[in-house]
Structure formats: structure tokens, C-alpha cells
């Protein structure tokens, strides 16, 4: 009885038979691209086609961490811009995105990891991103709950401290961008499934949906973990992607004890305290591809073991909630943003793995530029699909770990 048919972000719109651009996937990348298409490029005749509801996928399942301390010279500037955009978007959208600029701490558990961190920090500093190497004692000063003793599975040697990062409220970004896009005339169609993409003479001509056919010269697939499957199914284009379920969980709420995002590659574990007091923590991905988003006792046990090792004050604390999402992993841990190549008017934005949230603001801006002009902006050029056949993989991960399951 309190249910209103009017969505939070604007009026419900009728599905038209033609649009200037169609975006498949009502997640953060799709919403951000639509927002910038309408706001910066005057392309307001845009439809977002979402099978379920906006924010159903990764947009509402990630652990909301933002940072710009990636590894390669191609990725860092993109993530830096994304990070710089949070305060700007908060104002522009007139929507509180709750950016908590608490800083990130990446724990290092060996001298080899410290060396890798030195290189990553040098890259960050070269690109104007604040990042420091600190030793275990300094890490303990920042996070007093940290166990820096030598008798744990992976003793802490030091950490990479990245003060500009933090946490952004992910649902707020979904609603803020939806509101902003709708204000500029974008149509958001929920519960509408894209079933096929039509081409004529090598050019995009339309999209078939569960509610009828749409004529359009431009299509973007930015459907998170579902992108690779959709792109193969609809267009027969294979991608170097493996889709894995990734899990996250929160503990019962506690008094404030963590005021940074702390993560550890060796433990495959990260933790931050939400504004509600829960410790939000994530796990490594499943070991084989699946679309289930199911949770496993295997990983709950892993998280409990890891956390009670390096944050021993959490021993005995109960997990309250657990959920899963999809991560579309590429072999070089860098995304694929491409368009106007395989098929004229077809754009893709996928392969983000678990980096989709922290990149969405900047990617929306550049993908919109790409779709509006038809020419790939310099910022996105290194992320093309052909880099795999040209054997120019990006090296975003430091050879120590490979996250794809078939490796």
C-alpha cells in the first residue's frame, strides 16, 4: 500500500522503438556512461536496458572500496581520475555518495612483496598519486588492532599506505547516477531483457528486447560479470574472460576499531569497518567459473582463519551476513574497453574482475566520449581487445599470483 510506481530517480518512461544509443546493463558503468553521454555530449536519447533492476549485479555486491594504487602506467591515471571524481560527482549529482576518505593499507608479508610494493608506489608517485611504503611498526601505529608478531602464518613486513583511497557508498552511486541520468533525459528500463543484437552490413542496427525491438546505431554492453557470456551469445565474439563467483561478508557491528581499509594479498583477505560498525571482509574468488553467486562454508572458514590471525581481536566475533557477486577476470587483470572495431557501433566495457566499482566514474566519462565521437580516447586505447593477439598483456598483477582459474 505504500508502494509507489514512480521510481526514485524520475518518472517511469515508455520503451521507444528507436534510440540514439542503447546500453545493455543497468549497473554503474552503464549508468555512468549514460549520464556522461547526456550531460557532456548532448546525446540524451539513450536507453538503459536492465534485465532485473539497477544495481542488482556487481554495483550492489562489491565491498565499496576505492583506490588508485594499481600497478601499470595505463591503469593508474584512469583510477586516479575515478578517485578524484567522487567529491565532484557528489556535488554534481546533488546526492551524498558518502565518500569516506579513510585511506588504504596493503599489508606485505615478505621481502619480495615489499620490493613489489616499492615499484607500485614509485608508479603511483610518478603519476601524482599519494602512496607510501611503511614498516610493520608504522602500520601498527595506524591500525593498533594489527597483529605484527612473528608467530602468525604470514608475518607482516610492512605495508603500502595509500591515503587518498577509502570507501564510497555503492548504492548511493547507483541511485545518484540514475537520478542524474534521468534528469538529462536518459530512459532507464528495468525488468527488460536484451535478447539479441541486430547488425546490417557490419553495422549495429538494433537490439531485440523482451519488450520489443529497438532501432539504434550504437550499443554498449556493460553488464558486469554477464558481459562476456552475452557478447558471445549475441555476437559470437569470444573474450579472454573467466567469470568467477566472489564472496564477501560482514560481522556483527562492533565499536570503532578500524579506520582504514586493510588488505592482505597473502591472506587473500581484506577488512574495513562500515559506518554501521560491521567489519566488511572479502574472500578470494571461487576456483572454477560459475554464475551461481552462492556462498560456501569453505570461504567463511578461510575468512575466519585469516582475520583471527592478523586481526586477533576479532576472534569469536560472528559473521552476520554473506553474499556473492561475479568477477569477470582477464589474464592480465586489466579490463577490456573497445568499440567500433569488430562491428561498427558496437562497444564493450567488461573484464573488470573486482575493479568495476572503483573505476566506474572515470570509465563512464571516457566511454561516453568514445561512443559520442566514435574514436577511442587516448586514456582507453591500451585497453583494446587486440592486445591479447598482439601479445601485449598489461602486467597489472605482479606475477606472484594469477587469479584466473585456468592458470
Amino acid at each position: 500500500m505504500f508502494w509507489k510506481s514512480k521510481p526514485l530517480w524520475g518518472n517511469k518512461t515508455r520503451l521507444k522503438s528507436s534510440y540514439d544509443a542503447v546500453i545493455i546493463g543497468g549497473g554503474l558503468h552503464g549508468l555512468a556512461t549514460a549520464y556522461y553521454l547526456a550531460k557532456e555530449h548532448g546525446i540524451t536519447d539513450v536507453a538503459i536496458i536492465e534485465k532485473r533492476f539497477i544495481g542488482f549485479g556487481g554495483a550492489g555486491r562489491n565491498t565499496a572500496i576505492v583506490r588508485a594504487n594499481q600497478r601499470t602506467q595505463y591503469n593508474v591515471p584512469l583510477y586516479k581520475e575515478a578517485l578524484d571524481l567522487w567529491p565532484v560527482l557528489t556535488k554534481e549529482l546533488d546526492y551524498n555518495l558518502m565518500f569516506n576518505n579513510c585511506g588504504n593499507l596493503n599489508l606485505m608479508h615478505s621481502e619480495a612483496a615489499m620490493k613489489a610494493a616499492r615499484m607500485t608506489i614509485a608508479t603511483a608517485q610518478f603519476h601524482g598519486v599519494e602512496s607510501h611504503l611503511i614498516d610493520a611498526k608504522q602500520a601498527k601505529e595506524l591500525v593498533p588492532a594489527l597483529n605484527i608478531s612473528e608467530d602468525i602464518t604470514f608475518p607482516i613486513h610492512g605495508a603500502m599506505f595509500h591515503p587518498p583511497g577509502g570507501i564510497v557508498r555503492h548504492d548511493a552511486v547507483v541511485w545518484g547516477l540514475a537520478k542524474g541520468a534521468a534528469k538529462h533525459g536518459v530512459h532507464i528500463h528495468q525488468h527488460t531483457e536484451a535478447t539479441a543484437i541486430h547488425t546490417e552490413g557490419g553495422k549495429i542496427s538494433g537490439v531485440e528486447t523482451s519488450r520489443g525491438r529497438i532501432h539504434t546505431p550504437r550499443v554498449l554492453i556493460s553488464a558486469g560479470g554477464y558481459s562476456a557470456g552475452l557478447i558471445y551469445h549475441m555476437l559470437g565474439i569470444k573474450l579472454p574472460i573467466a567469470v568467477l563467483t566472489i564472496q564477501a561478508m560482514v560481522t556483527q557491528p562492533l565499536k570503532p576499531l578500524l579506520d582504514h581499509v586493510v588488505s592482505s594479498g597473502a591472506y587473500h583477505c581484506y577488512a574495513n569497518q562500515t559506518l554501521k560498525g560491521e567489519i566488511a571482509t572479502g574472500a578470494h574468488m571461487d576456483q572454477w567459473p560459475n554464475y551461481t553467486t552462492q556462498n560456501t562454508a569453505h570461504y567463511i572458514k578461510h575468512q575466519a582463519e585469516a582475520l583471527s590471525d592478523w586481526l586477533p581481536c576479532l576472534r569469536g566475533v560472528k559473521f552476520m551476513r554473506i553474499w556473492g557477486g561475479l568477477a569477470d577476470m582477464t589474464p592480465d587483470m586489466a579490463p577490456i574497453m573497445d568499440g567500433n572495431d569488430q562491428i561498427e557501433g558496437f562497444y564493450m566495457d567488461c573484464g573488470w574482475g573486482y575493479f568495476g566499482f572503483k573505476s566506474c566514474s572515470a570509465v563512464g566519462k571516457y566511454m561516453a566520449q568514445f561512443m559520442a565521437s566514435g574514436h577511442c580516447p587516448d586514456m582507453l586505447k591500451p585497453f583494446n581487445l587486440r592486445r591479447y593477439e598482439n601479445h601485449q598483456l598489461m602486467g597489472e598483477t605482479a606475477a606472484l599470483v594469477s587469479y584466473t582459474p585456468d592458470n
Partner: protein, 86 residues
């Protein structure tokens, strides 16, 4: 994620004993006349099917066999080989 796989030597075993070996892409392409695109297709490219696919598995914590089997990626269950007509 209660995955059980059928190893040709050991029979049905817990999925965590195995390592996933990728989608089955058929035989390795011949060296003669191999283009970068064809090699890339074999090495990197996947179909990411939401449904039943044929894939490679390695019985890592068992007999060490490599074998192919069919699995439904939306249910995470091993399934019988689909009929040839499909």
C-alpha cells in the same frame, strides 16, 4: 558449491580435490600456418557460457589425471554429456 566431479580413475570425488583446466577448445592448433589471432583464440578466448559447457579438469589432490567433463555453470553441477542433436 557442493561440486562433485567424476574422475575417470577415482570415480566421484569432492570438487575441491580438482583444479579447473579451462573450457575445452578442441585439439591444439597445428604449428604450420598458425596466425597470432588463431593462437590467441586457442590460448585466451572463452565462451563463458551460462549453462552446460565441456571443460578440462585435473585431479590435483588425487591420481593426477587430466580429463574433460560437462558442467552447468549456472548450477555448478556436473551433468551428463548433452545429446549430439543439441
Amino acid at each position: 558449491m557442493a561440486l562433485t566431479l567424476t574422475c575417470p580413475v577415482c570415480g566421484q570425488r569432492n570438487g575441491y580435490e580438482f583444479r579447473y583446466g579451462g573450457e575445452d577448445k578442441g585439439p591444439r592448433p597445428a604449428e604450420a600456418g598458425l596466425t597470432p589471432a588463431a593462437w590467441c583464440d586457442y590460448v585466451h578466448m572463452n565462451k563463458c557460457i551460462a549453462g552446460v559447457q565441456k571443460e578440462w579438469w585435473f585431479h590435483r589432490d588425487g591420481c593426477g589425471s587430466w580429463f574433460t567433463t560437462w558442467r552447468d555453470t549456472t548450477k555448478n553441477l556436473e551433468v551428463a554429456k548433452p545429446e549430439a542433436s543439441k
